[in-house]
């Protein structure tokens, strides 16, 4: 049964836009340099990065916008996915590293390690790395979610322990003894699946793939949210105890969407790392998670296309302002967050809805409980 549920209606369009836009950019970048429609390599890299961020934003929105769990630690899943991909890319370097060591990544040679730690086994294979990019965030989310939801940790408490989670991981990954390259992280990647990462063709393909992944995430999320499970999710968000008295276990429902969201975030991280070329523990920083939440807030939570738009807008703004106003851009960013929460509680998507009189009268949200989130 398709539920007549408006927040999902934009997802198809968003998927189409993302896919066509991404592929178009990718194709245009392959035109010769002189062509008027040529898209510079720089823009391809940026677009790929934004789309990877958009995947993270969708993941955050799934748990925050639809399940009412404000996560301040989703960057952890994103970064874990990124590390899994980064480990593969590290192994792909092979003997082309600075030291030419066929068995060890450069940073291990650097630290005089003599053998590969066991948890690096298998990462020379792309399918294994991709699997781990899903499994690692998924497993972490599973353990964490199982513990947290079972004991009914909710609201701000949950937000704060998600923050503790990503902070602890950041500290752990900073340790050189962990074997993930410490502060310098993983970098200096050469190629992926045999294709040179510095070739325009590879870049274009990666952009298109990222767009495809985002579109797939959007459609899959739409299918999930459109199912009875999606209705349950909203039910849990609106009145968790009610679902319990009907006989559902909200912890299971939350856990399922939480893990799914972590998987998506992991995918985003994997695509991010290939295109950005570095992964470092800084990606776990609590600030990053909060920023991801802000993309969602700006775009409009509780819709699937809002977060995509928010991620693109905020990051484009960041790129522009760090160049245009290097000394002032933080004011702009800070004010954006303040003004969005004050005047655009439903984000840009809310503006869109307000402009359409038909949709405006749809619901009258009512503040009921402390955890309740006003969502269109």
């Amino acid at each position: 049964m398709r539920l007549p549920w408006r927040p999902l209606s934009g997802a198809d369009w968003a998927a189409v836009c993302v896919l066509s836009g991404g592929s178009a950019l990718a194709l245009l970048s392959l035109l010769p340099e002189g062509s008027p429609l040529h898209v510079p390599q720089f823009a391809v890299g940026l677009a790929g990065k934004y789309l990877a961020y958009a995947i993270l934003a969708v993941a955050v929105d799934l748990v925050w916008g639809f399940a009412g769990i404000l996560t301040l630690g989703h960057a952890a899943f994103f970064a874990l996915g990124g590390y899994a991909m980064g480990m593969y890319l590290m192994r792909e370097i092979g003997t082309r590293g600075v030291y030419g060591n066929p068995n060890l990544p450069d940073f291990m040679v650097f630290l005089s390690w003599d053998h590969l730690p066991w948890y690096w086994y298998g990462f020379s294979h792309l399918p294994f790395a991709l699997l781990m990019a899903l499994l690692a965030p998924g497993a972490l989310a599973g353990c964490f979610g199982w513990l947290a939801f079972r004991s009914r940790v909710s609201g701000v408490y949950l937000s704060i322990i998600t923050q503790a989670l990503t902070y602890a991981l950041m500290l752990a990954f900073f340790r050189n003894d962990m074997g993930f390259g410490g502060n310098n992280g993983l970098t200096d990647f050469k190629d992926v699946a045999g294709a040179n990462l510095h070739q325009p063709g590879t870049r274009a393909a990666l952009l298109a793939l990222t767009a495809l992944a985002l579109a797939f995430c959007l459609l899959a999320s739409r299918a999930i949210l459109g199912s009875r499970f999606g209705a349950l999710l909203v039910a849990v968000r609106d009145a968790e105890s009610r679902t319990r008295f009907i006989g559902y276990r909200p912890e299971h429902i939350k856990l399922l969407v939480w893990v799914y969201s972590a998987l998506i975030a992991g995918v985003g991280g994997a695509f991010y790392v290939i295109q950005v070329g570095i992964i470092n523990p800084g990606e776990f920083a609590p600030g990053n998670s909060i920023e991801a939440v802000i993309w969602v807030a700006v775009g409009g939570r509780g819709t699937l296309w809002g977060p995509v738009l928010g991620a693109l807008l905020v990051n484009l703004g960041k790129t522009l302002f760090t160049g245009l106003l290097p000394e002032l851009w933080l004011y702009a960013l800070g004010l954006l967050f303040i003004l969005t929460t004050l005047f655009l509680p439903r984000g840009v998507a809310g503006l869109w809805r307000a402009a359409k009189p038909a949709g405006a009268a749809e619901v009258t949200p009512e503040m009921t409980s402390a955890d309740h989130e006003a969502v269109p």
């Binding site: 510079p40 502060n183 310098n184 070329g277």
Partner: protein, 441 residues
């Protein structure tokens, strides 16, 4: 500050945003029309986030140097234009901004980065787009890229002489060492090199304590008391600190409060300069040591003039100068010389021309750009004074040429960097007579 420097453009990246490009064009000075298109210089230093504390100064000094050069008529008859971006202490953003500077702004050279990770992050970009990066901070070595010029100290230009000093009678003939550092690559590598080096000097492993702390460590009580306990073994003990800039203030405050005096356990720091000391009351720290290639207190005419210029430029008569600033001073002037010598800003030509360029440094010596893209530097040991400055108590008799690869790490024992033909390789194995790895060749 931008008022002093007419040549700073408000940044834009035209192809993505016409509005941004228009904004950039609006500020383009009239000078360009007279003397030709300005030459763009990229400045890639964090102006926000955790590293702003160190890097903002470097942005300012670059603006000063560029303004100064423009007063002299620019380079090749063209004015210089600073392109300032803020990579916000975010490493992927460093790579993105580097790409933007090279491919959108098409800058002639980039002066930037502080942390190792930021350099590692931009390195592939510079190599791919064949840019020029001047990196002004002391670092762990083990790198030698054709596109990077390392104007800061390599380990052999800071760490080894500093330990030599501690081992000498003047430095207190230490026989027991604490190697305390922040847990990241620079301290790890430096300490590894030092451990090997101390071994060759007859110091037993039992007499070396290695301790790592996280970034921004603020509670040093336990560690300082551990150091104290380690120092009570009847042997003269010294601390070699590779603690990262920001964490030094609480570290030194704790040292002072627990009464560790420089006469009991001297602390030799590699990351504490005038700028860091500006945040502390240095009276309890008098006599603690730092090893650098430059100190503000060194009295030479060149340095006096530089400091005067700096105070005038920043309009702050007390603003300190420090070692990485001198590195930028040297690097920038070397680049100017190379461009003037080559008569072009073409990257390949400039890279080749830079080798062998000599530039007087601020402390009375002459820095030479070596074939391995490192420079020759004097090494000074300074003692902290109660006015927040350093008093030089020791210096190397000659300039020390920077070594990219450490002879104390097995894999790199035989490596050298030489970007002249015929070797033309950053990691050349002198025994196997071949270039190791592919990219750096």
């Amino acid at each position: 500050m931008s008022n002093d420097t007419p040549m700073i453009s408000r940044r834009g990246f035209g192809q993505l945003s016409l509005a941004a490009a228009a904004a950039a064009a609006a500020v383009t000075p009239a000078l360009a029309a007279e003397k030709g298109e300005p030459i763009k210089i990229g400045i890639l230093h964090s102006l926000s986030g955790t590293m702003a504390i160190s890097e903002t100064t470097l942005k300012d000094v670059m603006l000063m140097l560029i303004a100064e050069q423009n007063k002299k008529g620019g380079v090749l008859g063209r004015p210089l234009e600073a392109v300032v971006v803020d990579p916000a202490s975010n490493w992927p953003l460093f790579a993105e901004k580097a790409r933007e500077l090279l491919s959108v702004d098409k800058v002639a050279a980039v002066f930037g980065c502080w942390t190792s990770v930021s350099r590692k992050s931009v390195l592939p970009v510079f190599e791919e787009l064949n840019g020029i990066l001047f990196y002004p901070v002391q670092y762990e070595g083990q790198e030698c890229s054709r596109n990077v010029f390392y104007t800061g100290a390599a380990p052999n230009q800071q760490a080894i002489p500093a330990v030599d000093y501690l081992l000498s009678a003047d430095g207190g003939s230490a026989t027991r060492f604490v190697l305390a550092g922040t847990d990241y690559v620079y301290p790890r590598t430096t300490n590894q090199i030092l451990q090997a080096y101390l071994g060759t000097k007859g110091i037993k492993p039992a007499d070396i304590m290695v301790n790592y702390t996280p970034f921004g460590q603020s509670d040093w009580q336990g560690i300082v008391s551990q150091i104290k306990a380690f120092g009570s073994a009847g042997k003269k003990t010294a601390v070699v600190s590779t603690v990262n800039g920001d964490a030094n203030v609480p570290f030194y405050k704790e040292l002072g409060n627990q009464g560790i005096k420089s006469t009991d356990i001297p602390v030799m720091a590699f990351s504490v300069g005038e700028e860091e000391l500006a945040g502390i009351d240095t009276k309890p720290l008098v006599g603690q040591l730092a090893a650098w290639n430059y100190f503000e207190s060194i009295k030479t005419p060149a340095n006096k003039a530089f400091i005067k210029q700096w105070h005038a430029f920043t309009k702050k008569p007390k603003r300190t100068t420090n070692d990485p600033m001198e590195a930028h001073y040297i690097g920038f002037n070397m680049w100017v010389q190379a461009v003037q010598k080559a008569g072009t800003i073409d990257h390949d030509t400039v890279i080749d021309t830079l080798i062998g360029i000599k530039q007087p440094n601020l402390t009375g010596g002459v820095a030479t750009m070596l074939p391995n893209h490192h420079i020759t530097k004097p090494v000074y040991i300074g003692e902290i004074q109660d006015n927040g400055q350093f008093n030089v108590v020791w210096k190397t008799p000659d300039l020390v040429p920077g070594k990219a690869w450490s002879p104390y790490v097995a894999e790199t024992r035989n490596l050298i960097g030489d970007w002249r033909k015929p070797i033309d390789c950053g990691n050349y194995d002198t025994v196997a007579k071949r270039c190791v790895g592919t990219k750096h060749g």
